[in-house]
């Protein structure tokens, strides 16, 4: 059906004119949990995330995070997203961790031998135990969801109350990224979240 014909029929059905602006849409009532303390958010997140099969490791330093990743690697190869946060934590310099791929073919080849993908996240939602991931050239989906084990490394300050809080903070940011994934639990994958 040509679009013009469909829109003509639609406008006639609604009794509207071409280019007629709507009234302001009703404002959604957001449930902001800003009264939760950091510890309450963490407990809430732990309950929801681990309840859905995710593994949560809370560590106090980047050094502990590196050591934990070494244990998870158990001598096997890993590939990591080229993110400043992971570099800051020294994760990109770990033995057996490859990153900084300059083209898709190099990444594909590395992915054939690697067992672990190391990434970071945009934020975490305590209420639902959700990890919010965003696609970018530095963090392709092949690292996040292409390997048997996914390790997500994030600072504790990324822990928000819920989706309402995220949408209140910056709703337009969703439009800036090609893909945003709200990962609720492990979805049958082996996912380790290291919170520093």
């Amino acid at each position: 059906m040509p679009d013009d014909a469909l829109f003509e029929t639609l406008r006639a059905a609604l009794g509207r004119k071409r280019f007629q602006k709507p009234s302001t849409p009703p404002e959604p009532e957001l449930a902001i949990r800003n009264y939760w303390t950091g510890e309450e958010r963490l407990q809430q997140f732990r309950r929801a995330f681990t309840g859905r099969g995710g593994h949560l490791h809370v560590v106090s330093s980047a050094e502990e995070a590196r050591s934990l990743i070494g244990d998870l690697q158990a001598g096997q190869e890993a590939i990591a997203a080229s993110l400043p946060w992971l570099a800051e934590c020294g994760i990109l310099d770990l033995a057996g961790v490859q990153s900084g791929f300059t083209d898709a073919e190099l990444l594909r080849n590395a992915g054939r031998t690697a067992r672990i993908g190391i990434i970071s996240c945009h934020c975490l939602l305590a209420e639902s135990g959700t990890v919010v991931l965003r696609s970018s050239p530095e963090q392709p989906g092949s690292i996040g969801f292409g390997l048997p084990v996914t390790v997500i490394v994030a600072p504790r300050r990324k822990l928000l109350g819920n989706l309402d809080e995220l949408l209140q903070m910056n709703p337009r940011s969703f439009a800036s990224f090609r893909e945003t994934v709200l990962l609720n639990g492990s979805e049958g994958r082996d996912i380790h979240l290291i919170l520093i």
Partner: protein, 287 residues
């Protein structure tokens, strides 16, 4: 402050505006929006795209499409939306998914279900009824809890961008009328399109009190109003043949045996059991 009901009412009364905004936003980021009259047209269009690429498609694509994004009649008869409604075809090159919501302001498509593995498909087709639009991203906070349950959620705003190595090279959004416009024309029936297929109306409260629809559909009166207008389906040659066979037990049994012998998956109807009820009854009776 709004409720899901007031947002849905606002969207439906201004649907042309929000569809235009959605299309502008999606196409600005490289997505392609296609308006189609029916699920049949969706299947035709997918077959055409797949033929151009040389991708094989399953014989029962049309039945699968109907399950992914039903028309209005199926809304009235069907159950809640299935989470993760998507098809992966042509050895993973093509993914067809049903949108939970479309967000006009962000030009985003909201899918429920696990994200694609690895680099994902080369072509992503998203199918949605024209009524699935929400005005802004903030509205998702109110509407997502109605559908998502514990499943993961994806928001897509376009195909692969410059510098990205994965994600679909092409993103098509098929917006299907499927009989919705005539409903919109009638204010008494328009509200049925507020339905987001959350399935709340299918569960009865234990105390027998009336079910409250989260989007404010008048569950007492609207279904009756619509069903009264459905054409009676008790005439025509199919029903006369059915009646003829039903009145002849041996012929009925023979027809059942034929159906079980010749049933094919591509018919899109459930596989009949290995034995008829009569056979089982006779065998059980002998024991």
């Amino acid at each position: 402050m709004s409720t899901p009901a007031t947002v849905r009412h606002h969207v439906l009364t201004n649907l042309d505006h929000y569809l235009t905004e959605l299309e502008e936003q999606l196409t600005a980021k490289g997505g392609k929006v296609v308006y189609l009259r029916s699920v049949e047209e969706v299947a035709d269009s997918i077959e055409l795209l797949a033929r151009e690429k040389g991708w094989p498609l399953p014989a029962d694509l049309r039945q699968q499409m109907e399950r992914l994004e039903p028309g209005v009649a199926e809304y009235l008869l069907g159950g809640p939306r299935e989470a993760g409604g998507s098809l992966l075809l042509a050895a993973g090159e093509l993914r067809i998914a049903s949108a939970a919501y479309l967000i006009a302001e962000a030009g985003a498509v909201c899918l429920i279900g696990p994200p694609a593995d690895g680099a994902g498909p080369r072509m992503q087709i998203v199918v949605a009824g024209i009524d699935r639009v929400l005005p802004r991203m903030r509205d998702v906070a109110v509407f997502l809890p109605l559908l998502a349950g514990e499943g993961s959620v994806q928001f897509l705003t376009g195909p692969r961008r410059a510098g990205e190595w994965d994600g679909p090279e092409e993103l098509y959004v098929y917006l299907v009328d499927g009989g919705r416009i005539p409903l919109l024309a009638d204010p008494a029936k328009r509200d049925v399109l507020r339905c987001v297929r959350c399935g709340a109306c299918l569960s009865s409260p234990p105390d027998g009190s009336p079910v409250v629809c989260p989007v404010g559909i008048d569950l007492e009166n609207i279904p009756g109003l619509l069903r009264r207008e459905l054409p009676p389906e008790t005439s025509g040659w199919k029903y006369r043949l059915w009646g003829f066979v039903m009145r002849r037990p041996r012929l009925y049994e023979f027809a059942g045996r034929m159906l079980r012998s010749f049933w094919r998956e591509e018919w899109g109807v459930p596989e009949p059991p290995a034995k008829s009820f009569r056979q089982t009854w006779r065998e059980e009776g002998r024991k």
